[in-house]
């Protein structure tokens, strides 16, 4: 590393703190910066170290405790971070700026690139991650590959599916929808019974991206050294028009999802289905325990009957931050956490989604909450969906900003009744200018 790298982060640490303070926040003393600028030497033989790991995954401490009992020299300490509205990433970005990030972090696929442009993550190929490549699902691995580098260890993905209250659907004589047309018809039928099929949450950019992904959209691409942005493309327009019509016809709610009011609707059956992802089983079990046995999972509705096009919502990686002093140990832990059968078993029990590892479990192992879904082998649905996820989707370098843009624009559109197409137009324009603002080259794709 050059001299400028030695002074660079230190100066940024001070400035970052100052900007934060000026914005009305007092950051308690920015941490020291002990980076000498050399490659970290790593752990001496027999030396006892502690690695910090920022995560929000419920129950993540169980596999970590198992690791700690097996590796007394490399203790991993989990620090829980809030995952509300991207708070965890704000914290990680701030920590990188301040020069004191943790050693490891839970980072979702869509936001990995935003850490790369800040040089926040370690290129793991330097520490031999390539030898583990064939242990992971190909496309999940690819999500963290940029150029020749691999920047994160795949943990889990979230192939999407439709959770529904089978008892209510049956009572009301509504067939589980296999296409989006049928979904709209089902929405109407359910509305006639005084309930709702779903909510369109303006602020859930993640799921909207999944819906566009399924329809064949490719929001980001790279041409040479330029990012291409195509949020306002035909497939996304099709999706936007569809949900716009549902909202305008008042066939779905517009409350935010996974918030108190939504949980209440799910508990009471006021909302009869949820377009969710494989990790959603634990969420329903935890928040609507009284509805046990009444839920089923069916594949996500299709644009063309039987097309088998699916999408991914969420899913995350274990990344190693660039400043860690013990890159080798951190990588060893990250690999172990996501491939060791015992660890996977514990992660599955806590509902972490569809594993990024190819081996070490059986699909039926994922049916942790079989009883809740009336004995259905529901993970098969997600496993099939996983195979139908178009793997060429790439995320851009400012996904959090993109979600915020989408959230603001959908919020405004739902409020003033303007079209969802105008949302796409606006977000497309804003995203290109956001990327340029970040010092990147960007143009419409």
């Amino acid at each position: 590393m050059s001299m400028s790298d030695i002074t660079g982060p230190r100066r940024r640490a001070v400035l970052g703190g100052a900007a934060a303070a000026a914005a009305g926040f007092a950051l308690a003393g920015c941490g020291g910066d002990d980076d000498g600028g050399d490659e970290p030497k790593g752990r001496k033989k027999g030396e006892k170290i502690t690695l910090t790991f920022w995560s929000w995954v419920p129950g993540i401490d169980k596999p970590v405790n198992l690791w700690n009992s097996k590796n007394p020299e490399v203790r991993v300490k989990v620090e829980k971070v809030s995952a509300v509205e991207g708070a965890q990433y704000a914290k990680m970005h701030a920590a990188i700026k301040a020069g004191n990030p943790p050693d490891l972090g839970q980072i979702e696929y869509p936001v990995v690139p935003s850490f790369l442009i800040d040089n926040g993550l370690l290129d793991l190929t330097k520490y031999g991650i390539d030898q583990h490549k064939d242990m992971f699902v190909g496309w999940q691995w690819q999500q963290s590959v940029f150029g020749k580098g691999v920047y994160a260890v795949p943990q889990a993905s979230g192939p999407m599916g439709l959770f529904l209250r089978q008892d209510l659907f049956e009572k009301w004589g509504v067939e589980p929808p296999a296409t989006w047309d049928e979904y709209e018809a089902a929405a109407k039928a359910i509305r006639k019974k005084g309930a709702w099929i779903e909510t369109f949450s303006a602020t859930n950019g993640n799921r909207f991206a999944g819906l566009a992904w399924q329809a064949g959209a490719r929001w980001f691409g790279a041409e040479g050294d330029t990012w291409t942005v195509s949020i306002d493309d035909e497939p996304t327009r099709k999706v936007a028009d569809y949900w716009d019509a549902l909202v305008k016809q008042k066939l779905i709610k517009t409350i935010p999802d996974r918030q108190n009011a939504w949980y209440k609707d799910v508990q009471t059956g006021a909302m009869a289905s949820w377009l969710g992802a494989s990790w959603g089983d634990a969420l329903l079990v935890g928040n609507a325990p009284k509805t046990a046995g009444k839920w089923r999972v069916v594949p996500m509705p299709q644009w063309k009957r039987g097309e088998g096009a699916y999408a991914n919502w969420g899913g995350s990686t274990t990344a190693v931050f660039a400043k860690t002093k013990y890159p080798k140990d951190a990588l060893d832990f990250a690999i172990w956490l996501n491939t060791d059968p015992e660890s996977i078993k514990l992660l599955i029990e806590n509902g972490y989604g569809t594993p990024g590892a190819k081996r070490g479990y059986a699909t039926s192992d994922l049916d942790v909450h079989k009883d809740f879904f009336g004995g259905q082998a529901y993970s098969k649905v997600f496993d099939d969906a996983s195979k139908g996820v178009d793997t060429s989707w790439k995320w851009g370098p400012a996904t959090d900003t993109l979600y915020q843009r989408l959230g603001d624009a959908f919020t405004a559109a739902i409020g003033d009744g303007s079209s969802f197409r105008s949302v796409l137009k606006k977000v497309q324009r804003d995203t290109i200018s956001d990327l340029k603002e970040k010092g990147l080259k960007a143009e419409a794709g």
């Binding site: 400035l15 900007a19 303070a21 000026a22 914005a23 509205e85 690139p113 940029f146 935010p256 959090d400």
Partner: protein, 314 residues
């Protein structure tokens, strides 16, 4: 300060030196902290606001990242951002309605508690002041539960009475926030006003009573004019607080689709810094916010200052 009257000077110097040492001793802790926590961050924010990030390397990944001079482009960007400017309009509207209401409440409570016939003054004073002890975030969470449909007993009661209220709707959420702020700060402002009322010499009231003034007349013609400085003070504090609205919209945001990321200028700057990771634009927005707060506060002080003088002339 040099020598026209050396004799006098020498005497003063000795006294002054002692005084200056003492003054410096007392001032240093303040000045040190003031510089460190106030002037320095403002200076850095100003500096940061004039820079922008430049990235090299293919797609900006893994390349060099450096800060380069940006002139006023961050300010231009902030002022062109309709979310940010709309936030200003929103807090100004908020202030125009909420501050008079709150100050009126606070004044009424202060006058009631300081009225000669008031009973259980200590209890009520503490009770009214208590919400101020609840941190803004907690207050917003508490009120959030009272606002969210499906959970809120208020919404349910209104619904069973045939009245469908949506506290978190697009047109109502600003006033729901105003309610939280009023709940929190009325008691605090009341206490400031009471403090000033206590400083009014009792003879004035006695004289007024002897002249046959009613309780109402005493309140309007004696108490109100005398607590005018405290009213100005509480209004200016409220004005600054309003411009800095943050915790309430931030906490309520996940509960509703009616609050966007630039709902208030402070929220916009926060999201720019911590969601979008654009410290430079956030710094420019923070500086703009500080400027507006400065202009409005001093503008208000000037306005009431002139009126005050006009009053004395009469």
């Amino acid at each position: 300060m040099t020598g026209r009257a050396p004799g006098r000077m020498r005497r003063m110097t000795r006294a002054e030196a002692r005084g200056a040492r003492a003054a410096a001793g007392f001032l240093l802790p303040f000045l040190g902290l003031f510089l460190l926590c106030f002037i320095a961050p403002i200076g850095f924010a100003l500096y940061e606001s004039l820079l922008k990030v430049e990235r090299t390397g293919p797609l900006g990944l893994g390349g060099e990242t450096k800060d380069v001079w940006a002139g006023l482009s961050n300010y231009a960007h902030a002022l062109q951002d309709e979310h940010f400017t709309a936030g200003f309009g929103r807090v100004l509207l908020f202030g125009a309605v909420q501050i008079p209401v709150m100050i009126a409440f606070a004044t009424a409570l202060a006058l009631l508690l300081e009225a000669a016939s008031a009973r259980w003054v200590g209890f009520f004073r503490t009770a009214f002041f208590l919400p101020y002890g609840v941190p803004g975030v907690i207050a917003s969470i508490l009120w959030g539960f009272l606002y969210v449909p499906g959970i809120s007993p208020l919404v349910e009661m209104a619904h069973s009475a045939g009245w469908d209220v949506d506290f978190l709707g697009r047109s109502t959420v600003l006033w729901s926030i105003a309610n939280i702020v009023t709940w929190q700060f009325t008691g605090y402002n009341m206490l400031v006003l009471i403090a000033q009322l206590k400083a009014v010499p009792g003879e004035l009231y006695e004289a007024a009573k002897i002249d046959g003034a009613s309780v109402w007349q005493i309140a309007v013609h004696i108490k109100l004019p005398l607590i005018r400085p405290a009213l100005v003070l509480t209004t200016v504090f409220s004005l600054i607080g309003t411009l800095q609205l943050f915790a309430e919209p931030k906490v309520l945001k996940p509960l509703t689709n009616s609050i966007d990321s630039g709902y208030t200028p402070n929220l916009a700057a926060y999201n720019e810094a911590f969601t979008s990771n654009n410290q430079h634009i956030a710094a420019a927005e923070a500086v703009l916010l500080a400027l507006v707060a400065c202009v409005l506060s001093f503008g208000f002080l000037r306005l009431v200052g002139q009126r005050g003088k006009g009053g004395e002339d009469r």
